[in-house]
Symmetry: C2
Subunit: 260 residues, 2 copies
DNA sequence: AGCTGTGAATCGTTTCACAGCT
DNA sequence: AGCTGTGAAACGATTCACAGCT
């Protein structure tokens, strides 16, 4: 079966934990009533689960009780094989010949994504973007209440935005710790981002969502996700350029970029 | 290495025989005078090029003239092998034994990403987020000037935001066509997003950056990128949950009551 | 008859490791 | 001696295709 190959000789050995994406390993759990443990879900699948969840919630609201992979996948913009594979990471919650029960799926995805508890959010940098984020007022569906706001601007300190008074950057560690913030959102100018990040970490936040265009340095147990407007636009720009090049496939060179 | 490239990076037709379980034929059949195209840059690499570009620009500002892969990769948060591979897609612009010339690299990346020309942007939905985006005033480094704003709200029509007067959603096609908008940014509530998207497409935009939590349906030549706050937070939530599970690996924690 | 769940094949990305140039 | 450029190996994600359940 899974042949395991040695590695030549190099640094770093990544302890090959056997997580074949589909294997029924005899979990070491004793007589656990609930098969919760098992294999890791691929990162890419996690992102899609969040999308499925939204689509399913919408369907539930419209009274759907069951849904087939074909239908759900179409609504989520993926193909059905991928959808089924993704859902299979959760366990077997579908009914062959029928489909999935919407409510069951919603529950399982919420459990898997850790949405059965709240995650308090702090927003740092109350400029245009931070303001917008703060006013979102408890991001999506209640699970992510914004409970702290920070900025450097003296004129803003104490002013409530979306119901929460703004505190000073220096108080990040204390306030985050005190309020039990678990997610920090950085919406500051790039120059301030790293120091803000350090303070958030000092305050005990576990994850950071970074809107500032900088690569943050964090201790390895902290999870960081980055949303970068400039990068998104530049990727789009690349595609426009590529399309233009393709359409008038007349000037293949001009600048010396050639076949490899 | 005779890999043959399909036309497009994403979609592309399958010309694969969908039968013989183990039979495999030397793919590529009638090779027409297929022009040898420039090797396409992997999608994943494109996103990183944008990051390298920013880092390089910062280095240039501080007077650096050359940089080695080790240094640049560290600053960009990737490893050096990946960096070198990514840069190799642009061509050979480094000097063995020395490194890369910062200015040369900046120029090549800009050219590759299509940043040598401007891409006019329209922002639709002037709520909190749209307002923030509009005020960015010509996104990153001058290459993406915001030149049109739209909303449904009658109170907003005509009011200038960040220097540009807001127009009505209905005028999207006409205004976009007239001003030569190439990128549309959707910052509306989810319910409006698809219709806005259709109008942007009608107005001739080639790419869409979608902040609304919906899966957009677009003609295949339109490139869409999505930025989804809820999804980002839920991914972070997943990691918090997984870490918690790992730390206390024994207790599935009963069954949390929920919130959502 | 229909649809899920999943091994196996395929495809894309990352990493290794070293030849080749400076 | 040092650093790039790159085949090839390893890894990871997606798609195929069908066995197995309802």
């Amino acid at each position: 079966m899974v042949a395991r190959r040695g590695r030549r000789n190099g640094a770093e050995v990544k302890l090959d934990a056997d997580n074949a994406p589909t294997a029924e390993m005899p979990a070491v759990t004793g007589a656990a009533p609930d098969p919760v443990r098992v294999k890791a879900i691929p990162e890419a699948a996690v992102a899609r689960l969040a999308v499925y969840l939204r689509v399913l919630s919408a369907m539930a609201e419209q009274g759907a009780t069951t849904v087939a992979s074909e239908e759900l996948s179409a609504a989520a913009g993926v193909n059905s094989a991928k959808l089924r594979k993704d859902l299979s990471y959760l366990g077997s919650y579908g009914t062959r010949g029928v489909g999935y029960e919407v409510q069951v799926l919603v529950g399982q995805i919420e459990r898997t994504l850790g949405l059965t508890r709240q995650h308090k959010v702090a927003v740092v940098g109350i400029g245009n973007l931070g303001h917008a984020l703060a006013n979102y007022g408890g991001f999506p569906g209640r699970g992510f209440p914004v409970e702290a706001l920070f900025d450097v601007d003296a004129d803003l300190i104490g002013v409530p935005v979306g119901g929460i008074p703004v505190s000073h950057l220096e108080d990040i560690p204390a306030v985050c710790a005190e309020r039990g913030i678990s997610i920090g959102v950085i919406a500051t100018p790039p120059t301030a981002a790293q120091s803000v990040c350090d303070r958030l970490v000092a305050g005990g936040v576990q994850c950071i969502l970074n809107f500032a265009p900088v690569v943050l340095q964090v201790p390895e147990q902290i999870e960081v996700r980055k949303v970068d407007l400039a990068v998104e636009l530049q990727i789009l720009s690349f595609h426009v350029a590529r399309r233009a090049e393709e359409t008038n496939s007349s000037h293949p060179v001009g600048n010396g970029m050639v076949v490899r």
